[in-house]
Symmetry: C2
Subunit: 354 residues, 2 copies
Amino acid sequence: MSNKQIIYTTPPAPAIDPSLGTGTFRLNTLPIPKDVPTDKLLVRVHYLSLDPAMRQWLTAKRSYIAPVEQGAIMRGQSIAQVLAVGSGLSSKYSKGDWVVASSGWQEYAVVSAKEAEKITVPAGGRPTDAMSVLGMTGLTAYFGMVEIAQVKKGDTVVVSGAAGATGMVAGQIARIKGAKRVVGLAGTKDKCDFLVRELGFDSAINYKDADWRKQLKLATPEYIDVFFDNTGGDILDACLARAATNSRFAICGAISQYNAAKPQGPASFMSVISQRITMKGFIVFDHVKQFPAALKELGSWLAEGKLKRKEHIVPGGLEAAPQGLVDLYAGANTGKMMVEVAPVSEALAVKAKL
Amino acid sequence: MSNKQIIYTTPPAPAIDPSLGTGTFRLNTLPIPKDVPTDKLLVRVHYLSLDPAMRQWLTAKRSYIAPVEQGAIMRGQSIAQVLAVGSGLSSKYSKGDWVVASSGWQEYAVVSAKEAEKITVPAGGRPTDAMSVLGMTGLTAYFGMVEIAQVKKGDTVVVSGAAGATGMVAGQIARIKGAKRVVGLAGTKDKCDFLVRELGFDSAINYKDADWRKQLKLATPEYIDVFFDNTGGDILDACLARAATNSRFAICGAISQYNAAKPQGPASFMSVISQRITMKGFIVFDHVKQFPAALKELGSWLAEGKLKRKEHIVPGGLEAAPQGLVDLYAGANTGKMMVEVAPVSEALAVKAKL
C-alpha cells in the first residue's frame, strides 16, 4: 500500500494551475509509514478541506501564517481516522477515532496530538460537521458576525460569498440574532434560490446579473448596517457606497482578489469617513479561547434546526484536490467544499460512524 | 460700506477653479445689513477658515453634511467680532466679543446664537486658536488619536498630512500620550524639518521623495500600530502594507482623493485581514458632548508648552479665499490655513485683544 501526497512546487502566476506535474503541484508516492513514533498518530485521510485562504498560503509575503514552502506537502486539514496510536498517546486516542487532522494533502499522515483534534459529535451532528458548520468555517462565521460585526436586532445585514461555507453560516447567524434583513450575494441563480428557499435569507442577488448594484440598492432600503465580506473587489466597493452611518464591516476574505496580479482597492473607500464605518479584518485563530463556547452555541442551533449545513463533496480521490481548489475560486461550490480522499465504506469499522 | 460675499456657482470638474466669476465661485456685493433681528448678531469676519473637507461639500452625494447649494454663500467658519447684538441676545453677547462664527464666505454676517460660539481665551491662548488647536482641527486630532486610534504607550504612530492643522496636533498628541515613535509624512523638506525640529516628531518623510516608501519602512522597524490618515491614496496604501498586527487606522481625511475624478482605493487592502487591522472613519461632530473635556486637556497642553500651534495666514482679503483653497489642496500650508479678511488693526477696540 502506498501513500499519495501532493507537493507544492511552483508559485501560481497568478492563478493556480491544477495540472499535476506541470502546474502548481506534483504528485509524490511513498510507502505508508510503518512505525509510529511514541508521541504521534498514524491517520488515514477521508475528507480533505478546500479553503479560500489556501491561495494566500502560496504567496510569499507577510501574513497571519507562514507560506507553504516549495517542495513541501500542501497544507490542509482533513477529517481522518486513526489507524495506529503511538504508545505515549494511547490514553488519549484509540484506533478508529475520528479526528480533524492537520494532515496536509496526502492519503495517510503521521501527526502529533496537537495536529489531531478528536471529534465529538453532538446530538444531530455528523463528523464532517467538524470541518464545516462546527469547524473553522462555522467558527469564522460566528466570530465575524457576533464579535467583529456585533450584529444586533434590526440590522440590515449583507453577506458576500453567501453560498460558501462561511457565508451561509454567517447569514443564518444574522437571522438567528434578529437582523431585520439578511441579503446574500452569490454567483448563480441556483445559489440564490438556495439561500432564500433553504436558508431563509430575505433576498439573494446574483452578482453576475448586469443590474446587481440596482438590486443591492433595492434590497437595502435602509442602507447596510453590517457587511460580512468574503469577496472584496467590486462587491466590497458597492457595499461601501451603500453603507449606513456607523456601520460595521467584518472583513473575512477577499476571494475575488486572491488570484489577481494587481489587487483592486475599493474605490468607494471615502465612505469610511462620511459614514463613520468601522472595518475590521479578522482571523478565526485569534479567538481560540472562545471556541468551546461558540461551538456549544453553534451545536445547539444545529440541533434545533435553526442552522442548516451544506457540503459540496468533490469525488475522485486526492488527485482531484488541485482542480477542486481552482473550482472553489470559480465559485463551483454551494457550501463547504471537501475532497473525498477515501470513502466511508473503506473506514475501519471500529467507531466509524461517519 | 458694502459686504462682499463669495457665492458657490459651478461644481468643480473635478478641481476647484479659483477664478471669480468664471470658475467655481463668483463675487457678490451687498450693503451691510443694518437692522439686526432680535435673535441674531451682526458680526464682522476677520479670519476665515480653509479646510480640506470643503471640496467634499461641493459634491452632491450622500455625506455627513448636506452639500452647499449652487447659488448659496460658500460655507465656512471664521473668527469674527460682534458689531451689533439683537435685543434678545444682549444678556449673552456684547459688542466687541470675539466668536467662532458659521458666517460663510463673506465679510459681514447675520448669525444666530447657535452659529456664533463665544471665544473664551485660556491662559496662554489666542482667539485664533479657537479655529485651530483649540478648535475643530485640534478636536479632530484629539478624538482621532485618543478615541478612534486609542493611541497608547509604546506605539509606533504614523501621521499623514502631518504638517497640516490636524496632522500636526495628532502627532503631538501621540507624543504626549507616550508613543514610542512618531513619524510624519509631508510634502516638502521644510515641512519635514519643522515637524522634527519644532514639534518633536522622531522622523518625517517627504512623500515626494522617490524613495519615500523605503524611508517609511526604515522609520517603522516594528511596523505601524497607529495610522492617522489625512491623505488617503498611495500613502494609505503604503501604510496598510506596513501595518502591525492588530493596528488601528483612524481615517480622518483623504485630501489626495478629493479632487480626483476617479478615487483610488487602497490596493494593499487585504492587509486588513492578514494583520487584523481596525479602520475607523470618524467625524469630529459625533463627539460634541466630549468637546469641553477635550478642550480642557488641549488647553492645558498648550499652556504647558507641550502642544505647539502654527498658523498659515493668507493675505488679500475675502477674494483670496478661492485661490487659498486651491493652495490648501496643493499643500501650500504648514499649520492651520486661514484667510485674513480684515486685519486686527481694523477691529473694534472694545475687548479686541486678538
